[in-house]
Symmetry: C2
Subunit: 466 residues, 2 copies
């Protein structure tokens, strides 16, 4: 039987992840046994019976990507509203808003002139098209916006190739992303200032593959709008290598993307009405729009399905909230924040209700790690006092500072404290804004643990206030 | 430019994962700046230049699964030894040991009699074969070993179908695994006691798919050895449903697996010699054998490649260890622990050296979460005092209790403290011992963070002792 010990030992090792001393507990008495039981119930129920994952499967596989203004975005919003109605939420309604309406058009083309092999390419979201026949021009490789300023007029008529890589050294992949994304956002206008014909960038990606990553850009007012595209990382490596061999090579780029008239759309909202404070709202939300490639599975189908399922978990467990719990599917996070601004505008104008806190889940459906909260030191301390209720493998800290793109306008307009679910993001920027952000990249348990973490937090906010 | 704030906000949210107050720091002075710098260097270097992932790619795609006694296991051990030699380790050598030698044989077959559709099935490791023409018998579904005792002689001539599911409610997936695996390990002999002809089990898996999971069983001495197979979870659901419709249905099962003579094999060891204490060893290791399906990517190709790369990171960063750092590729963890026992036997007989600590990495190449250590309270406290040096998103606790199957004999024979790397295991039991444990399921950054965590820990043990 000794052999059995060896067989079972890994199980015990994996099981004995005891909760170690926790941070921020403000009381020596320890947590309320009712809270211990309820948080445990929430986690067990989500892991065993949660439907976040199956809802996300439908969104990803039956509807797909959902760029603002697209038929799929409209379909997803309708489906979400229907689902919340069927779930028996106390009210389900919409907030109308006009959204920007950019279309990718035909598949982009990019290759080194004279070579048959195509480079992997996607237009950067919001880019203008190339002329109908495409652009063919010499290429200047740069590592930064500053280098563009240094080169100045030498860039006239050229395609500027921003090739600074995602810095893999950061443990936080957000740091790697933040350190490279200026090329995508500002690269076009910086190069246009000196007469460049177009830009291509190395995709802002932590993966070493050839799947290009899109995302939004910002054109400056004072310079011409030139086409901007993202190359797959391996295509960028190839182009860089070829330029070393032949600095005079020419690149061909063809894109037919276009801006259309703003389109009518809406945020979709579902609520459980508070029994004691119906006019005090705890908001949990994500964004229903996504980029137009992949499934928008992690970004942010996951967050939307989690938000709905927080309310559904309250119902399944028979928890009657004291405050109103509101799930918001914001529209247009990716390229304009029209939905977030509309929500804030309406909230500011509504003197019949107020928000305790708004919590966004837009960090991907990965295993949770903590929450970030932008609030007073006392509120932060209160949240930290709840940490002993959480398994430290799931929620181990409350950061000072948090929120999300969609709820930032609400914070700015009304002063509502804002928070965000923090997940483990090691895999995030392999997938983000690319054709690889698909349903199969989401793990059921990781996603449901996010729902459970949000539900447990909101249960505590509802019980103890902010 | 306000739009830009919205665009960049998620980056800042993801970046601002500040290290919060840490557990177990024993000094008010704070960590030594040299240690802060070195740990940071180790993590940055592994993330940017680590080769653990590319080595694992070779192991998985060019060699593949490596059951003890197989040609692939021998090939993997040779390749590993060659690689460590090429890396310029101070010594590379082998410890010969005979290993059990079980072969799966032809692909297993299982279907409900009269139905064409096959059920997804794998022989449980170590099972005997069915008779040449297979077994066809009625099926009795049970949920536990106890239920088998209750049914007793009613099971005579039947196929017993253990269908108790992995309990999804546990946050620790090790708990779910540990709660179901008795069916796989003891199910055959318990049923054989009452004259059952064979058993099939619901795979011990956290996934809802139809990929069967193998693993080892233990036959009791006093009862006949009967064939034992694992069904995919969906196949188990199907069989259970069909039994509800027709309790008298018959199941066909055919397996040709067999035990062959024990085979010669070895542990493979690589070392960096200590400059001050060459006879005091810090061991880091994993197991080179795997089950014979999939790639053995997480279990435990990842741990083996990490162990080698710990030494390689010392070399790349020019860290001269004071103690000898030893990477051990153990053989035969999955079905016998012959390698672990041989290592312990030789260590016990060798009075020229001693071990400071042995650390196993066999929890999959997932993002690290902490370490478990079985040692004295003082040693535990010392390790906890190093926690402030680690990013809390990666290493946030040191558990009391840890180790691994391969190093347990060393602990038992010599009293050496043993430890294990703890990873986030939400995805582990979707893949474990199945055809899905393949290279593409491993994330480069998560794997390299494991190497970095082990390297940093060993740097600290080497500097400060145990």
């Amino acid at each position: 039987m000794k052999k059995l010990l060896f067989i079972l030992l890994p199980v015990f090792i994996l099981s004995c992840q005891e909760p170690v001393g926790k941070i921020g507990a403000t009381s020596d008495v320890g947590p309320d046994p009712e809270d211990i039981r309820m948080v445990e119930d929430i986690f067990q129920d989500c892991l065993a019976h949660g439907e976040t994952y199956e809802m996300l499967r439908h969104l990803c596989l039956n509807i797909g990507p959902r760029l603002s203004g697209s038929a799929q975005a409209a379909q997803a919003l309708d489906w979400t509203a229907d689902m919340m109605t069927q779930m028996g939420f106390d009210s389900v309604y919409r907030q109308d808003v006009m959204v920007p309406n950019w279309k990718r058009g035909a598949a982009e083309k990019c290759n080194i002139a004279g070579e048959k092999e195509a480079l992997a390419v996607l237009a950067i979201g919001g880019s203008v098209a190339t002329p109908a026949g495409g652009i063919t021009a010499e290429v200047v490789e740069v590592q930064s916006l500053d280098e563009v300023d240094d080169l100045g007029e030498k860039l006239k008529g050229k395609i500027v190739f921003y090739n600074r890589a995602f810095d893999q050294r950061n443990i936080s992949t957000g740091g790697g992303y933040g350190g490279a994304v200026d090329q995508r956002v500002h690269g076009a206008s910086r190069a246009a200032k000196y007469g460049a014909a177009a830009i291509v960038i190395r995709s802002v990606s932590s993966a070493f593959d050839d799947v290009p990553h899109t995302g939004t850009l910002s054109y400056a007012e004072e310079v011409p709008r030139i086409p901007a595209a993202a190359l797959g990382v391996l295509s960028a490596d190839k182009l860089s290598q070829k330029l070393k061999e032949n600095a005079a090579l020419q690149l061909f780029l063809s894109m037919s993307c276009q801006w259309q008239e703003d389109a009518p759309s809406h945020n979709v909202i579902g609520e459980l009405k508070g029994s004691e404070y119906p006019d005090q709202v705890i908001l949990v939300g994500g964004h229903m729009d996504s980029w137009d490639v992949g499934h928008g599975a992690h970004d942010d189908g996951s967050g939307c399905m989690q938000s709905i399922h927080v309310l559904q978990t309250f119902k399944r467990l028979g928890i009657q909230p004291r405050h109103t719990i509101r799930a918001v599917m914001f529209i247009n996070e990716e390229n304009g924040t029209a939905g977030g601004k509309k929500y804030a505008e309406l909230a500011k104008a509504n003197d019949k209700e107020s928000h305790l806190v708004a919590i966004e889940t837009d960090a991907g459906g990965f295993v949770p790690r903590g929450f970030g909260l932008s609030a007073t030191p006392e509120q932060l301390e209160k949240w930290r006092s709840w940490l002993p209720l959480f398994n430290p493998n799931i929620i181990s800290y409350i950061n000072n500072g948090g929120g999300g793109v969609d709820i930032r306008p609400l914070n700015e307009e009304t002063g509502t404290p804002v928070a965000g679910l923090i997940t483990d993001t090691q895999r995030m920027f392999d997938l983000h804004h690319s054709a690889n952000d698909t349903f199969d990249k989401v793990n059921r348990r990781e996603l449901e643990l996010g729902t459970a973490s949000l539900t447990a937090l909101i249960y505590l906010v509802d019980k103890y206030g902010m």
